[in-house]
């Protein structure tokens, strides 16, 4: 399956385009995607410990299963307002 990972905050300095297309073997979870990203880019190793995640623009967890075409966003602590 292919998913699209989105990055915000200082992770934009690591992934300047803000997104990363990722191919994973099914079945895969958010945690599997994070592991694959960390293997490709060591500066993303802290993703799951430093961000909340959203799948399809809804809050999700490390165990949330992914399906082909999903949008997976890694959300650092927010600072709007």
């Amino acid at each position: 399956m292919t998913i699209r990972a989105l990055f915000f905050g200082h992770y934009r300095d690591i992934v300047p385009s803000g997104e990363w297309e990722l191919t994973l073997d099914a079945p895969a979870t958010v945690a599997d995607a994070a592991t694959a990203l960390a293997a490709s880019e060591p500066r993303l190793a802290d993703l799951l410990s430093r961000t909340r995640v959203a799948v399809g623009a809804d809050f999700a967890t490390a165990e949330t299963p992914l399906k082909d075409g999903d949008e997976l966003a890694f959300l650092p602590p927010m600072s709007g307002g």
Partner: protein, 140 residues
């Protein structure tokens, strides 16, 4: 009513969205870009946003204020670069019961800051910083 825009915000737009002739009052919170932040001088902020989720989260806040307090609420948030002194966020709650309007407005801005995916990038004379919760991370 929610609005996420790069244009300057008009607080009155939030007021007009929530007030009817049967409402006796509104409480409004307006957040403005200030010239300092935890000891750093700030010349402006850039707000980065995960737009579809930010809009959905703001809409959830409006629904929640309606459900919990029975009050109309409007939320406006600007993104992109905002100079010092200009408005970044407006939360407006209409009410004939002022205790509840204060409570609901405060809950909405507190929850927005925690759960709406928007991030500040601070421009300072000595560099640029990503703000992530309470942390400032030097930006490239």
């Amino acid at each position: 009513m929610v609005l996420l825009t790069t244009e300057p915000l008009q607080p009155q737009q939030a007021v007009d969205a929530v007030m009817t002739d049967s409402d006796g009052a509104y409480v409004q919170f307006v957040g403005v870009v200030r010239d300092h932040s935890k000891g750093r001088n700030v010349t402006g902020l850039e707000y980065q946003v995960y737009a579809p989720m930010a809009t959905a989260q703001m809409e959830k806040l409006v629904v929640e204020v309606q459900t919990r307090w029975g009050l109309a609420c409007a939320i406006l948030h600007r993104y992109g670069f905002i100079p010092v002194g200009e408005i970044a966020v407006v939360v407006c709650v209409a009410s004939s019961h002022r205790a509840e309007a204060f409570e609901a407005c405060r809950w909405a801005i507190d929850t927005l800051k925690a759960d709406v995916p928007i991030w500040k990038k601070e421009f300072c004379p000595d560099g640029t910083f990503w703000i992530e919760g309470d942390e400032a991370i030097s930006a490239q």
